[in-house]
């Protein structure tokens, strides 16, 4: 019995020493950090890094998955009710107008550790459009979402089509198209039925010149790609001094008319198209000549299907910045930087320091973040200079440099942010509804539709307080 007691005591002593040894050097031992994140493919890195974060920092990571459609409502409810459930939230930076009172500015952390997270490595377009709000850093980019223009370069290179285009329109087929008027001409030119000729060969399917994601709930993005350049040289959602909506200006009306015009050269189902349908039609079926989308096509350039013709040429994806407008001989092109996914620390977090370490680990400049950025299945897009210039990425995916260089160039020209004021969702949903109604034929004219939007936007300004909205609007720029 005495011997047994000695053995038990020795065992307990050894166990406690080993636990003590493991506990040493881990700054946040025993702390749990809860992160609310986008469910689906985007959640994988969080689970992959759980073990590494525990080992390195002693932090237990608790991942709460939320579907994209529910993120705003679920996170906003927790934040406004001050439950303190989340330490880190992933959200769309367009919501910062509503989320601002509840997230912690990060400038003190950045100053303290000499920018270890690497804000200076993040492209200014993303810092401006996503992370900096009212002069303060409030988040770090998770996903460098932006929009690029894609087209069938294999088709554009065909000499027969180039000559025919010039004969019809009087100018060279632009490669890539630079203006929305050129897109209309090209879309009209390339829209052909099954059995007709394309690139000198017979089409085995109907072929369309252009396609948008025009489904209710998404279509406002594809309107904004036109709204911004059509309101050049200084596009604004509102008059910055009076907050009078600019959404029904002459440029805005022309933008919506352009959208309706291009619908004639689009596949019949586009009014019901979300991401899947557009991607499948363009990349999978190869039945669309031009489209605008997120960066997935650029990263997956080698997945492009051949043209739907007999003996098609090798497929080649063209990538460029989104089209602009020519005014007085000058071309105005803007790259809309999607508000996209960012990560912030909640003000009610009981462990903000630990939460910051997690953000740094997941999204700081370095091999961990680069590894997930390079993985096209995750859905995190490049946002750092170290991503775009990565030799490792070029080695891993031969040919990727074309996409990286074009996107970098597009982001370094005039970038343009999405609307980010309190109630941003409501403003954009009103726009979305009325654009959708116009495209569905519920309004006779674009002006009628946009006048309704302008009226509603004014109502919303009054609801939230005109001066408050003006103050928030100024923070976007």
């Amino acid at each position: 019995m005495k011997r047994l007691m000695i053995i038990i005591v020795c065992f307990l002593l050894i166990l406690s020493f080993s636990l003590l040894a493991n506990g040493q050097g881990k700054p946040f031992d025993g702390i749990t950090v809860t992160a609310a994140v986008h469910s689906g493919h985007q959640v994988a890195p969080w689970y992959s890094e759980e073990g590494n974060i525990k080992e390195k920092y002693g932090i237990k990571l608790n991942v709460i998955e939320i579907t994209q459609d529910e993120m705003y409502s679920r996170e906003f409810l927790e934040l406004t009710q001050r439950t303190g459930v989340y330490d880190i939230i992933q959200y769309n930076s367009a919501w910062i107008g509503d989320f601002e009172p509840y997230v912690l500015p990060l400038d003190d952390y950045v100053t303290k550790d000499n920018d270890a997270i690497g804000y200076s490595d993040i492209l200014p377009a993303f810092n401006k459009a996503q992370n900096i709000w009212g002069g303060k850093r409030v988040s770090t980019t998770i996903d460098g979402d932006t929009f690029l223009f894609y087209y069938r370069k294999d088709l554009f290179k065909d000499e027969g089509e180039k000559s025919a285009f010039k004969a019809k329109f009087g100018y060279e087929l632009p490669d890539p198209p630079k203006t929305w008027q050129e897109v209309v001409d090209i879309a009209k030119f390339f829209t052909r039925n099954k059995g007709e000729k394309l690139a000198g060969r017979t089409l085995i399917k109907d072929f369309y010149g252009y396609a948008d994601q025009a489904k209710r709930g998404r279509v406002y993005y594809w309107y904004l790609f036109r709204f911004v350049p059509f309101n050049a040289p200084n596009p604004h959602y509102f008059n910055p001094d009076t907050m009078e909506p600019n959404i029904n200006s002459l440029g805005s009306i022309a933008a919506l008319e352009n959208m309706m015009e291009l619908l004639k050269y689009s596949p019949p189902g586009v009014l019901g198209w979300e991401w899947d349908e557009l991607y499948k039609a363009a990349m999978g079926d190869g039945t669309v000549a031009m489209w605008i989308h997120w960066t997935d096509e650029g990263r997956g350039f080698d997945k492009l299907t051949p043209l739907p013709i007999e003996n098609p040429p090798l497929p080649e994806l063209g990538i460029s910045a989104t089209p602009g407008v020519e005014l007085n001989g000058k071309l105005y092109q803007f790259t809309i930087v999607d508000s996209a996914w960012v990560g912030s620390i909640c003000k009610d977090s009981k462990n903000p320091d630990a939460a910051y370490e997690v953000l740094k680990h997941m999204f700081g400049a370095g091999p961990v973040n680069l590894h997930y950025i390079m993985d096209s299945t995750i859905g995190w897009d490049a946002f750092r200079y170290s991503h775009f210039n990565s030799p490792e990425w070029r080695q891993k995916v031969p040919g990727i440099e074309k996409y990286l260089e074009i996107e970098l160039e597009a982001l370094e020209q005039d970038s343009y942010p999405m609307l980010k004021i309190p109630g941003a969702f409501e403003y954009t949903d009103v726009l979305d509804l009325n654009v959708s109604k116009y495209l569905a034929g519920d309004f006779k004219t674009a002006k009628e539709a946009l006048d309704v939007v302008a009226s509603k936007w004014s109502e919303l300004n009054n609801k939230f307080g005109l001066n408050k909205q003006k103050e928030f609007y100024s923070k976007i720029w």
Binding site: D69, S73, K215, R216, P268, L271, G272, F464
Partner: protein, 288 residues
């Protein structure tokens, strides 16, 4: 303990539960409907009828009521017909009823969200198997849920497919519970099948039919998932139902006051409708 006290103690938990789950939320929603209750704005003042007036001024509200009304009428009509046909068929085939009834009930076991996603695939204009067969028969492809003309029809097709078996099951249960004697008497009097159906089956089934109408109307008013996934209320507002409208206001625009006002605006005519149904039902039971 006296009987009254004992009864009170036994009933009290249920009453408390009802108060918490039904009465309190109802009273709170009335209060909220008369308040400026946007959770992004800290003050929630009393605003009188402002929320109600705002809702009545929204074009989308009338679109939503119209779409919901069309869905109620179309679904009730087709589901009753299909449900009756299936129920009568199964009644005539007692041996196969055991095999076919569970198979026929499968659609109502599938979640509406799943039906919505599958609907997106089978009705997608380019790759739709339905369009494939239409093309084979010489017809043009239809853009279905992406078409301003056919979007609501597409939703109705999916919904009728899903819910007709439910109607079938209720009506079949009603048919199986009907007394034999009136049918024997009708046969003796020389009534044919149609006369038997019109003058005996239908009147006896009136309470069951009313029950089906009430249950289906209430369910149709709540339709959300399939619309959210398939069309998000579009194109335009072609498939925006009342529940989607209320969801947008309450959970996307965060104006709980307006959402409550919208719900109460519809609650009143709905209560009148349900009371009418119940009166018909009670009349039917008295006659039976």
């Amino acid at each position: 303990m006296t009987n009254i006290k004992r009864a009170t103690v036994l009933v009290l938990p249920t009453v408390l539960f009802l108060v918490l789950i039904v009465i309190f939320p109802m009273l709170f929603s009335i209060k909220v409907a008369f308040s400026g209750y946007d959770i992004r704005i800290p003050e929630h003042p009393f605003v009188g009828l402002r929320n109600f007036i705002y809702i009545f001024k929204q074009a989308l509200f009338y679109d939503a009521i119209s779409v919901t009304g069309i869905m109620i009428i179309a679904e009730l009509f087709f589901e009753l017909i299909i449900g009756f046909v299936l129920a009568l068929s199964l009644l005539q085939l007692p041996r196969v009823r055991q095999l076919f009834q569970p198979i026929l009930l499968m659609p109502i076991m599938i979640m509406p969200v799943v039906i919505g996603y599958v609907g997106r695939l089978i009705f997608e204009e380019r790759s739709s198997p339905i369009n494939y067969f239409l093309n084979m028969l010489g017809f043009e492809s239809i853009a279905w849920h992406a078409s301003t003309k056919y979007a609501l029809i597409t939703v109705l097709i999916l919904r009728i497919w899903q819910w007709s078996p439910f109607v079938m099951a209720i009506i079949l249960a009603g048919l199986l519970s009907l007394p034999r004697e009136p049918y024997d008497a009708a046969m003796v009097d020389g009534a044919n099948s149609w006369q038997t159906f019109i003058y005996i089956t239908l009147p006896l089934l009136k309470p069951v039919i009313m029950l089906v109408l009430i249950m289906r109307t209430l369910e149709i008013l709540q339709v959300f998932d399939i619309i959210y996934v398939l069309t998000m209320g579009g194109p335009g507002s072609r498939t925006t139902t009342f529940s989607l409208f209320t969801y947008l206001i309450g959970f996307r625009y965060w104006d709980i006051g307006q959402a409550s006002a919208a719900a109460w605006i519809v609650m009143i005519p709905l209560s009148i409708l349900i009371s009418t149904f119940v009166k018909f039902m009670e009349k039917g039971e008295k006659v039976g």
